[in-house]
């Protein structure tokens, strides 16, 4: 048996079911580890030791009674964007620094029902806006592979925590790459499901038409187990889709013979790190050796993803974040003079610079006289990008490309220029605009930093993505590499 903290969800599940380990034992060990690494990694915003141990004790009772499911007693962490009942839910913002949610998000509720133990809430860019985790009110998260570097964002806390073996898995959300990009930079597995596959209820909204809940795990196998518990229609979210949830774990081992893989030509055209490209080509060779057919595919409108996204996402965010007005909950300024002062100072003090930038951009693109030129045009381009993907999936089963143009960059390297920061999401945004499922998998190390490949599938093809990722992970050990000092 490997070290307890190095065990993934599937491995822990087996050990718990076999009573080789108790949930309390695992939870205690991980809480100790989370606490020990908090000061220098800053991966968590809140740690709920007491509640976690109580949940673990309950799980042990169930495990003892033989009334347990595969996730009973397995500890995980939630990105602090998910509402957790009677616990702090900050969304990485001063605005909600003291907000205690009166209810559980559907994702949290379903995972609780499946018996998981919640260690705490992970750090994130404020309101999920950022690609480096430097926009958190609670301070940046460090990359476990190199403390001078960013973990990526916005789910930087979840990715760093999973990479540093503080938790076997963590929930995360992805609006433009917020699961896949930090997973890539931290050398872990990230899954962004199809838009509508997982309920958004209780997940604090950034850009409603793009936001999707997903997972950061050590492996595709672990992601399959957790997704099965999270996914499915929720009548509280009108955009969740009423489709049955397939047996993701059951489909993992399907052979890849005959699989048609498209290589995204546009992703290799622009400024991609050479090492990353080499690692992806090597990964493609491996998949070919397993019987997959590989061909180049062109999505001509894909290069328009970034400008399209930076119109649509801010537009929706400018409206979604209007509710934070200091009236009913959240930050309220001291002694407001009048209503306008209450709004201006509460919001001025409560939001950080990047959030304000996006609210202003979004307000602008929706304004009278600009709506057609920006918002409407962006929606049209979004449709063209979707059409490109749809056309590609008539010919191939999945698309493969890089997740990020570079490996993890240094803290502060891109904070001065928001557009450079935005370009970090150049490969991930397309899947959000088209609502497609996508994964990021570690596929190498470059100068001691993880490199990653991305797999994108047609709508509701999570089963297929997990299958391809699992077959790749059966043949490689990049996903098992532990950052130095965290073994």
């Amino acid at each position: 048996m490997s070290d307890l903290h190095d065990m993934g969800v599937a491995e822990l599940s087996a050990a718990l079911q076999a009573r080789r380990l108790s949930s309390v034992e695992v939870t205690q060990a991980l809480l100790e580890r989370v606490t020990r690494h908090q000061a220098h990694l800053n991966a968590f915003i809140s740690i709920s030791a007491e509640a976690a141990l109580a949940e673990a004790a309950r799980a042990d009772v169930q495990l003892h009674a033989g009334a347990a499911g595969p996730l009973t007693g397995v500890p995980i962490a939630h990105k602090d964007i998910f509402c957790t009942r009677d616990q702090k839910t900050t969304c990485g913002s001063r605005m909600l620094a003291n907000f205690i949610s009166p209810y559980d998000a559907t994702v949290v509720e379903r995972l609780r029902a499946a018996g998981v133990v919640t260690l705490g809430k992970t750090n994130m860019d404020e309101f999920a806006m950022g690609s480096s985790n430097e926009n958190s009110f609670f301070g940046p998260v460090r990359n476990p592979w190199d403390a001078a570097r960013v973990p990526g964002g916005s789910s930087g806390g979840s990715a760093a925590a999973v990479a540093a073996r503080l938790t076997p898995a963590a929930t995360a959300t992805d609006t433009g790459g917020s699961i896949r990009q930090p997973a890539a930079l931290c050398g872990v597995t990230g899954l962004k499901p199809t838009y509508g596959r997982v309920s958004r209820f209780g997940m604090i909204a950034f850009a409603s038409s793009l936001d999707q809940a997903g997972l950061i795990t050590r492996s595709a196998e672990d992601a399959a187990l957790l997704l099965a518990a999270m996914a499915g229609f929720d009548q509280r979210d009108s955009t969740s889709v009423e489709l049955p949830v397939p047996d993701y774990s059951g489909a993992l081992a399907t052979p890849l013979k005959g699989l048609k893989i498209g290589v995204l030509k546009e992703f290799f055209d622009t400024g991609l790190d050479e090492q990353i490209e080499q690692h992806i080509r090597a990964a493609l060779d491996l998949l070919r050796s397993q019987g997959a057919h590989i061909r180049d595919v062109s999505l001509p409108n894909l290069p328009l993803s970034v400008p399209t996204y930076y119109v649509v996402a801010p537009a929706e965010c400018s409206s979604n974040l209007a509710r934070f007005d200091g009236v009913r909950y959240g930050h309220r300024c001291e002694n407001p003079r009048d209503l306008l002062d209450l709004y201006e100072r509460s919001r001025g003090e409560g939001f950080g610079a990047e959030v304000k930038r996006r609210i202003m951009t979004g307000t602008y693109v929706l304004s009278a006289g600009y709506y057609d030129a920006f918002y409407l045009k962006a929606q049209r381009v979004r449709q063209l990008i979707s059409n490109d993907f749809e056309r590609a999936f008539r010919e191939v089963d999945v698309l493969v490309g890089p997740t990020t143009p570079t490996t993890a960059f240094e803290l502060g390297a891109k904070t001065a220029d928001p557009v450079t920061m935005y370009l970090n999401d150049i490969y991930t945004i397309g899947a959000n605009l088209a609502g497609l499922p996508a994964m990021s998998l570690p596929c190498g190390l470059s100068q001691g930093l993880p490199t990653a490949m991305q797999i994108i599938g047609p709508h509701f093809a999570e089963e297929r993505l997990l299958n391809v990722a699992h077959r790749y992970q059966l043949e490689t050990d990049w996903h098992r590499r532990v950052p130095p000092g965290y073994a």
């Binding site: 958004r200 209820f201 909204a205 038409s209 509280r236 009108s238 537009a315 007005d325 909950y329 209503l339």
Partner: protein, 488 residues
């Protein structure tokens, strides 16, 4: 400057009708009126972080009902949009409404003008939206309270074309829509509680001009009387402004009922840019033929159809039929009276008299005591009995009014009131003749004048004879006998 010009006013109404659903349009919270502040505000109504709206199917059904009732087009795929602005009673910072693709477009209703002619008022659109909460300023010592019970209550906003030319027409149209939503049972129509209210767009232009004048919007009018007064005030104000060489500003105005005037609230220049865009949290509302057929089949008999039928079946005038069908309950009451008339097969009860009693005397008593027709203290069966007593000559039509009032006040049946008060009509000729003889004997000079040609004195003798019989003489008999006796 422009004195001597004849002005024409142009009016359009935006009516807000609260839909009578049990729960809110996007949450499961109750919609009942009058609960303690915020007792009916769910996390969704409070716009907590992470919550999402889910559309109430019943609200859609009600909007479609309305659309079908005014022969409008039902949009097969309508879209909810966000109207963005900050206000404390708007918890999300946006109102979910419909903008480019409302669920109902086109359609019309007919109103009857004072000269009896019918005018068709076109409806531009009707869309679904959520109501806002209320800000409370009283008793809070300089603070503002926010009550979100009303936040999220479903509304349809019914927007008319600028088709009305007077305050009277506007009120007639408003009443027509009011009647319609209550027939359809999609709105309780309670104007005091704000379930049915309207904004009026008013402008004036020189008669004959094609171009619309600059309009002012008068907000939140919540009684028929206020609508009429506010519009008339506003027309006069605009004419004054124009005739003294000024310009009407496009602005929002508030009607002050205490002072009977409209006041500027905010000018449109400074108004919000609402930044409408489709709400990504809600799917388009898809409506198919099957659904429309099922809603169509559930429509009740509508006021115009009912009025037509009452005229045909009972020979009522257009006016009487119109008044009776102004509320479904009133029409039902009338029809029950007619049904119960069958309890008296020996006599023929006049539907015209029944209609007159219902819309005249009975309506007066309801009005006097502030009682709804459905709570009338005189039941339809009792009124039918009273009408039978008129038909069988037990009492005169004139006395029937007094009997009805006594029935209302004392809760007794007409027969016992007639007996107790001795109001049974005198049809016995000898008794009437005796009364006439006495009157003639007591008024010899009038008799002499009458006989010398002053026909007008006939009325005097009728009055005297009636008085002598305490009003109980059968009027037809009395007339007949009097005429004979006076002429000697």
């Amino acid at each position: 400057m422009m004195a001597g010009v004849e002005w024409e006013s142009v009016i359009g109404l935006e009516i807000h009708a609260q839909l009578a659903t049990r729960s809110k349009i996007f949450s499961g919270a109750a919609t009942a009126y009058g609960a303690p502040p915020n007792a009916q505000a769910s996390l969704i109504d409070l716009a907590y972080p992470g919550v999402l709206p889910v559309l109430n199917a019943e609200a859609v059904r009600m909007a479609v009902k309305f659309g079908l009732a005014i022969n409008a087009h039902i949009t097969r795929r309508s879209i909810f949009a966000r109207k963005n602005y900050f206000y404390p009673d708007l918890p999300k910072g946006y109102q979910i409404s419909q903008y480019e693709l409302p669920i109902v477009s086109g359609g019309a209703v007919d109103i009857v003008l004072e000269d009896g002619s019918v005018k068709r008022i076109d409806v531009t659109r009707a869309h679904l939206e959520e109501d806002a909460g209320k800000s409370l300023h009283e008793g809070l010592a300089g603070l503002t309270g926010v009550d979100l019970n009303r936040a999220g209550t479903p509304l349809i906003e019914i927007v008319s074309e600028p088709a009305m030319r007077s305050a009277r027409e506007a009120v007639a149209y408003l009443k027509k829509i009011h009647t319609l939503v209550r027939y359809l049972q999609i709105c309780d129509g309670n104007m005091q509680e704000g379930s049915f209210r309207c904004d009026a767009n008013v402008s004036v232009r020189p008669r004959g001009s094609e171009k619309l004048g600059t309009r002012a919007e008068i907000k939140n009018l919540n009684s028929f009387r206020f609508v009429e007064k506010a519009i008339n005030y506003e027309i006069a104000r605009q004419v004054d402004v124009l005739e003294s060489g000024g310009q009407v500003l496009q602005e929002t105005r508030l009607y002050d009922a205490d002072r009977g005037e409209t006041r500027s609230m905010r000018s449109k220049e400074a108004a919000n840019d609402y930044r409408y865009f489709p709400d990504p949290d809600l799917l388009p509302v898809e409506i198919d033929e099957l659904y429309i057929d099922s809603v169509s089949a559930s429509l009740p008999e509508l006021p115009d159809q009912k009025a037509q039928r009452l005229r045909q079946d009972y020979g009522l005038s257009a006016y009487d039929a119109g008044v009776l069908t102004s509320s479904a309950e009133l029409a039902d009451y009338f029809e029950t009276v007619i049904e119960r008339a069958a309890d008296f097969p020996a006599v023929a009860i006049s539907p015209k008299l029944a209609a007159n009693m219902v819309i005249g005397e009975l309506a007066g008593l309801l009005n006097r005591d502030g009682v709804d027709i459905s709570d009338s203290r005189v039941a339809p069966a009792a009124l039918a009995r009273l009408l039978a007593r008129v038909a069988d000559d037990t009492i005169s039509g004139k006395l029937a009014k007094d009997v009805l009032e006594a029935m209302w006040d004392e809760g007794k049946d007409p027969d016992s009131i007639i007996e107790q008060r001795g109001w049974r009509q005198i049809t016995d000729e000898s008794a009437i003749e005796a009364a006439i003889d006495a009157v003639m004997a007591a008024n010899p000079s009038q008799l002499a004048q009458y006989r010398s040609g002053r026909d007008k004195l006939f009325g005097f003798f009728v009055g005297q004879a009636m008085k002598a019989t305490q009003g109980k003489a059968n009027p037809a008999r009395l007339n007949e006998l009097l005429k004979k006796k006076l002429s000697g």
